[in-house]
Amino acid sequence: MTVSEYNHSVECYSDNLYRFVLKNCKDINKAKDIVQDTFLKFWEKRDTVDPLKIKSYLFTTAYHTLIDVVRREKKQGSFSEVTEESYSISSEYSDLQEVLHQALDKLPDDQKAVILLRDYEGYAYHEISEITGMTESQVKVYIFRGRKFLKNYLVSVEAII
């Protein structure tokens, strides 16, 4: 892979990758670090990466880095910092997408990741399974569960409003 091809990949995928990571970890600095790490790994392995699967490689690497970071933080007790308010439903929502993203944050990490890959990036189930390392049926189950949770959340918000 040439330098120009690598730079083209940066141009094409860095925004999407950053958005995916940021939506998952909700921390700008961490998201930037993960994206930097991902592209660093990509540069180191640029000769072994299939040019047709660059995007998939980037998301796979970013996802696994993200999981590592999240697990490390959970071990360090950042989960305890989450207040009860984050689990409660606020009535100050002005936009449906805003409510939906609020609901998304309440999903388990795996379900959130697969739904983001599905909705934001439009990946097929088998592609998501490649990225996340899950089986295709597992991906399907997570998406179904995630959708049900989101639907119930929306219904509950409507009931409050």
């Binding site: 330098v3 940066v10 950053y18 958005r19 930037k32 909705d119």
Partner: protein, 341 residues
């Protein structure tokens, strides 16, 4: 002997009540209770505690029964999600629509599922510039480029050699020498070639300038003085530019004519000295202060010349005071003190 003991007979008893024992095991258990009649009370207790299921009618059983249809109230959500995920085949989609028509209260649920689709927000990675790599230009060295370069070098080198062979002797008479201004001198005591360690440039017709550094020091004898005077008296145009300017064609022709005349008069043993004098070799004299011949004046020599001129002017202007100034200067006192010691 059977495996039924006092410690495990209860498990066998439970299996007996649930009718999980084989005929042989039932026979063994019967035999066990005959041997241990004191334990037969447990058998009766188990029989008493047998639960009898109550007779109840299931509600809306007909509504739940939907064996013929694919989509039912138990699984419709899966089909709704599959519909928004575009996983349902066309036939299933039609069937789902029919199901929703039959159950209009579920249509709102279908709409809500459609709303669970996330819309990608516009997020830009600000530090994108840090990810880019700079491209390194690699100039390929092909064999033919090497050959071409070698050919060019060889060509110019051979051409240079041919020029040398064609003109083994440089005719000084055909050279145009740009001579600097020569100051008039009053007396001639001994000749000296001042061109030592100084570059003299000869401008030859149709050839690039040739730099020659003359390092010889020739002191001509008395008879040569007349010849050198003649050589010095050659018409040399005043030159403002020290770096050298070509002489005019007319002056060259005149010079050549005079060279021819002078050669006739010069004895053979004096030809070298005259030749040097003719070709930009500057002859100065002991009383001279400035350096008259300089084809290419360096900064150092220029500074020296300026200092000399300034010192000279200062001495003449101030006269006696200037002389005293020099005499009483630190270097002079230092020399005197040193001599006293």
């Amino acid at each position: 002997m059977s495996g039924i003991t006092r410690y495990n007979y209860e498990a066998y008893l439970l299996d007996y009540l649930e009718q999980n024992l084989s005929a042989e095991q039932i026979l063994e258990l019967t035999l066990f209770f005959e041997i241990h009649p004191e334990l037969s009370e447990d058998l009766e207790a188990f029989e008493i505690h047998e639960l009898i299921p109550p007779k109840m009618e299931l509600m809306n059983k007909t509504e739940l029964k939907n064996e013929e249809e694919l989509i039912s109230l138990f699984n419709y959500e899966d089909f709704l999600i599959a519909e928004i995920e575009a996983l349902n085949p066309a036939e299933t989609s039609k069937e789902l629509l029919l199901f929703l028509k039959k159950n209009p209260r579920l249509y709102k649920e279908y709409v809500t599922y459609q709303q669970t689709k996330l819309l990608a927000s516009t997020v830009f990675f600000e530090a994108k510039e840090t990810l880019f790599k700079k491209e390194r230009k690699v100039i390929p060295l092909y064999w033919w480029s090497s050959v071409a370069a070698a050919t060019l070098v060889a060509f110019f080198w051979l051409q240079g050699r041919n020029d040398v062979v064609e003109n083994p002797y440089i005719s000084f008479a055909n050279m145009e020498v740009a001579l600097p201004e020569i100051e008039q001198k009053e007396t001639l005591k001994s000749a000296r070639i001042e061109s030592e360690n100084k570059e003299i440039t000869f401008a030859k017709k149709h050839s690039p300038p040739v730099a020659i550094a003359l390092k010889k020091k020739i002191v001509p004898s008395a008879p040569e003085k007349g010849l050198k005077e003649k050589a010095l008296e050659e018409p040399v145009p005043n030159q403002q530019d020290i770096t050298g300017v070509l002489l005019a064609e007319a002056s060259i022709e005149k010079k050549n004519e005079e060279d021819a005349i002078s050669k006739e008069l010069i004895p053979e043993d004096q030809e070298d000295a005259v030749l040097l004098a003719e070709n930009n070799v500057v002859i100065t004299y002991e009383d001279e202060v400035s350096v008259p011949v300089k084809k290419k004046m360096t900064k150092l020599t220029m500074i020296r010349k300026v200092i000399k001129q300034q010192v000279k002017a200062k001495l003449f202007d101030r006269g006696r005071e200037g002389i005293l100034l020099v005499v009483n200067s630190k270097p002079a006192n230092f020399i005197r003190g040193k001599n006293k010691k």
